[in-house]
């Protein structure tokens, strides 16, 4: 055991300041153990406090001792509380020993708003003599054990600036980036963070599901109900594959264009304003922040479309239709080989394959570890140049799909346009706007604006003609 001798070793832990004084952890559960392990590895000394120091689970190798709470509290100035809020009442007895100490509340709840006050405020009321700091509660025991802390952001809040400074020092040494959110009143916000479930995905998912539902209903009426009402045919089995295989590519294309629309809008706003130094409207900011999620959803829908497509020839109905075609119309159309149709379907599928391949490339470059290896210019090249190319190819794919259906009256059942016509509107608009932005004269102005040039001098400050920053 090297830990015993660690204290006697003159060099002490790495870095100044942490040398003498140990940190205390209350609670020997998963979180307490993982935190202690990590603190020990970073060079701190750790003391555990437990209600039953003899019978509780194992503490990490290197932790000095397991003590009852009061003794552990006396040994350290910084106490990490790794205990459920339900079990905070033991602190009433320990409170006198915590006077003047920094008490870090790491607890989380299972749901929002189940208690009238936040855990940290409750704790501060229980132990008024201690400086309570809420923080580190976004770290799970698993994350603490597996060494992925470097560069992660963590939030702290508390009323004592000195206490927060002491905690943030420990966090920094753990590799975390600390963001101060103010007084202990912000603790409810901090406690709600780990309870959030994909906050960035909510809006994109709602859009995707809304679009899917709308198009599904629309196509259900056009394809299935129309057939039943007008011809009396029951083709309800199409609900499982044929219909989704129309809905998914439509939604995918719309989502992909929604991914590139805000960038185009932002460029036009900058051109109109003649400066990049004014904030975009909030809805645009919000939209731009979730472009990645929108794009990934578009990729997901495209993947399902591809899977459905490949499954088509194995379906019973496809085989049945095929056989009927052969036997019934024994000497008719299929025998005249229509070169235009061959070119059409082959182009349709060729473009589809190419578009999907680029889609997948975009998706792979969105993986955090791949994106991290790209320089800014490379990332920009992929997400902007390649992205618009993907949008163009997928839009062309969709246009070719409909090229020979446009003028057929049977296309407009009940006078409604087919789904793919509706879905082509958004990408077409995006592409036209993008082409306008790429015109040399427009592009030149935009580039200058993005480098800090302003068309009109800022009003009220006529002397400041140039922007001094990026």
């Amino acid at each position: 055991m090297s830990e015993v001798t660690l204290g006697s070793f003159p060099l002490g832990p790495v870095g100044a300041g942490a040398a003498g004084e140990p940190l205390c952890i209350f609670g020997t559960g998963d979180l307490g153990r993982s935190l202690g392990q990590r603190l020990l590895q970073t060079g701190y000394r750790v003391v555990y406090g437990s209600r039953r120091p003899d019978s509780c689970g194992p503490v990490p190798q290197g932790a000095q001792v397991r003590l009852i709470h009061t003794d552990a509290a006396s040994a350290a100035n910084l106490v990490f509380l790794c205990v459920h809020r339900d079990h905070y009442d033991f602190l009433q007895n320990v409170a006198p020993y915590l006077k003047g100490k920094v008490l870090v509340d790491l607890s989380n709840n299972l749901k929002k708003n189940i208690y009238p006050e936040s855990n940290a405020e409750f704790l501060q009321r229980l132990v008024p003599g201690a400086a309570v700091v809420k923080g580190l509660n976004t770290l799970s025991a698993w994350a603490l054990q597996n060494g992925q802390l470097q560069g992660k952001q963590t939030f702290i809040c508390g009323d004592s600036a000195e206490a927060k400074q002491a905690v943030s020092e420990v966090c920094t040494r753990l590799g975390l980036l600390v963001l101060d959110r103010g007084g202990v009143g912000a603790s409810r916000e901090l406690e709600d963070f780990p309870l959030q479930l994909f906050p960035m995905w909510r809006l994109p998912l709602s859009i995707a599901l809304g679009l899917s539902a709308a198009f599904f209903l629309y196509l259900l009426i056009r394809d299935v109900i129309y057939g039943y009402v007008e011809d009396g045919k029951d083709i309800s089995f199409r609900i499982m594959i044929a219909l989704p295989n129309k809905v998914f590519p439509i939604v995918s294309l719309v989502m992909l264009s929604l991914c590139y629309l805000p960038g185009v809008i932002a460029a036009f706003i900058q051109l109109y304003r003649g400066t990049k130094y004014r904030r975009f409207p909030d809805w645009l900011d919000c939209w731009m922040l979730c472009r990645k999620q929108i794009g990934l959803l578009a990729l997901g829908f495209a993947l399902i479309h591809v899977l459905y497509l490949f499954i088509l020839p194995i379906r019973y109905s496809a085989r049945h239709k095929f056989i009927s075609q052969v036997v019934d119309e024994n000497k008719t159309t299929p025998f005249y080989f229509d070169k235009t149709t061959a070119w059409g379907t082959d182009s349709l599928m060729g473009l589809g394959v190419l578009g999907f391949f680029l889609y997948v490339l975009l998706g792979i470059s969105s993986l955090p570890s791949v994106g991290a290896t790209l320089s800014w210019r490379e990332f920009n090249f992929i997400q902007s140049k390649l992205g618009h190319l993907t949008l163009f190819i997928c839009t062309a794919h969709c246009y070719i799909y409909g090229w020979n259906k446009l003028l057929r009256p049977s296309t407009y059942k009940w006078y409604t346009p087919p789904g793919y016509m509706l879905c082509l509107m958004v990408p077409s608009v995006v592409l036209v706007l993008k082409v306008i932005l790429l015109l040399p004269c427009v592009n030149r102005t935009l580039t200058r604006i993005r480098q800090g040039w302003e068309r009109a001098p800022p009003r009220g400050h006529p002397e400041q003609l140039k922007a001094t920053n990026f």
Copy 2:
């Protein structure tokens, strides 16, 4: 060259302690150079020792000098030995200069157990005056060059606590998390680490291969040999695609359910015991630790199944069967369009596509860089909620596959049930157990237990009614 002036610069390297004294590296091969490079970047000064200081390869820019071993050893207190064990004999001459120094043995062997004693023990015997520390041997030259050290765990062992402390200080500054494994006797264990080949994958792979072999044999007998024996048909070509396309989905589904079975068992054990504070049996712990690997293997098998499926209509035998169907039974079954069959096959494939899509989502969230961006709750949502949904959909997919074959006598060749019936047992059991756990009354108790509540007070400590940790 800035290095010459570095020494004269008053500020010295970052942090205290490392300022004055250089570190010594013996060996100018890939590993020695990469280690030196990294140490220099971290702010250390580095001296190289070499047998032929003039003719050996280039050392990284910034390393102070290349010296013969004895001079280099004199210059530093910490010597990293980046030399193959086969070439250790030169150390006998250098030994007097290494007295009282810390000697870090980074060497690895090509295979286990080729020498009677571990490299570090051999080294300690060669240079008895030095404090040998085994460590850093899990780092490759490649990893040292490419900056992925942050948060990586590394093991050290050695008899001198002070030597280990000095080494662990350097490691910590390199960003590594050091785990002390005790005396130099543990060095064999440390030297075996880098020789391990996917230790976590052994058990899951064995299960997967065992299941595949068993089901392959079973289906070979039922499908190919039965046909040959009873009808005299030679359909051995099915071994290449048709048979694997039954075996792979079966094994995939069984593996997926094996991935969720231990969690369900653990929940029932906790419910039965009324506490979460007692360790699970070892086999369960072991099983739970390799759930990720089991799940990824299930995904791999599912992917092969999907690829085989899409290839089906292109096969010669499929085309042949299809054409025969058309020509032979010219006016029979296929012309009556069976809506139930259409619904059946379309549901089968629709569920399959959906299940595979969720499978892929699970796989993507298992990528280390994606998993690291998820909060604990999000990770849990994906792996638990989405995972069980995937299992449910895939099981339903399999049930639909067999729905109309259940009561056909031809299904039970030689009185054996078909493969998919056998494979449905495990996922069905898992799903039923999971449904029981989701019943409100059971679920409530389980949640309380997982928050630290215990049904019975710990015997022998009647005063300790509550658990104080997570």
Copy 3:
């Protein structure tokens, strides 16, 4: 606001040295703000200098004050310049206040060679009294905000060693690995770094595109033009799918073998030389460095091949051909079920699926985050063992494709061999050479050489019989 009190807090920022003196940032744009935020999180104090301290955008919470440039410059010894080169002229007024200070130039240009001198040299001329250091320009505002700095390499250059030391100290604390590139004359090189677009991909991409173009032309002549000239058939629609579906797998297989060829050549060179201590020729080094890119391109082409393949049965021309077959040759070939053909096509496809699956495995293990979890031996196992297995299976797949076409005269249109025969040459050579290397006697020698053994003693140094490093 905790920042106000931060200064009064006795502990100061983490680590020694950074305590008292703040860092200054000129420019409050995206980059300036992100850099300041990161420096604050790392424990530094930050002062912003701006032309219009009152009207410029928000600075990160915690930055001390916003001042006009001259005051900010006076407050710090290290000034980060986050301003476009176009706006450097304001520095002429600030120059007197920058005397003796370190001025870090982070600027980049939009294109190469648009200015006669590099930004840093221009800056040094503008502010001759300051010690200009070029650096950190590879970091984007986005990278600074999102915490992926740990272990990243960054380059600096400048004429003053002390100034570079001060900057590199800040960089090291940010987690960056600093590489010194010499005097300010190297700044053009540094400024060109962020303008590079996938430098490692250029060669592999050129090879892939060159091969694709060559094979496409070759097959266009053989398949489309031959048919038109000799039989007068217009099958130009095949350009969209049928032709690419031959070109892509051919190029994929050639690229995959090009990925393993340099390793084999290197082994033979080492065997021939009898030592591993002599550098490989430059072309081989260069080739070996882009193996990963070559392999990923091969995977990309294989993916497109697979997508094209799955789309085949849905094509109009495939359906047409199929129906013609049924109706025209109503009682002919297809009804005799040819077992050899069934075995052949099924083996072809089975091997294809297996090969593609291994391809995907190789691709996944190339993801940075997955690769980082592998030990060196595991990585080696996947990329070498599994890689050669993939090459073997894909080559076999290609051989089976052509097995029954070899002796048919119709295969050799215009006396040219079909594409797949040409493409088989490279992988066959690689596999044969690899088999030679795996022969026990050859393999043993190679292993010894790779462990440092040399056949002949180094000439001129007869006393140095053994290599002392890996």
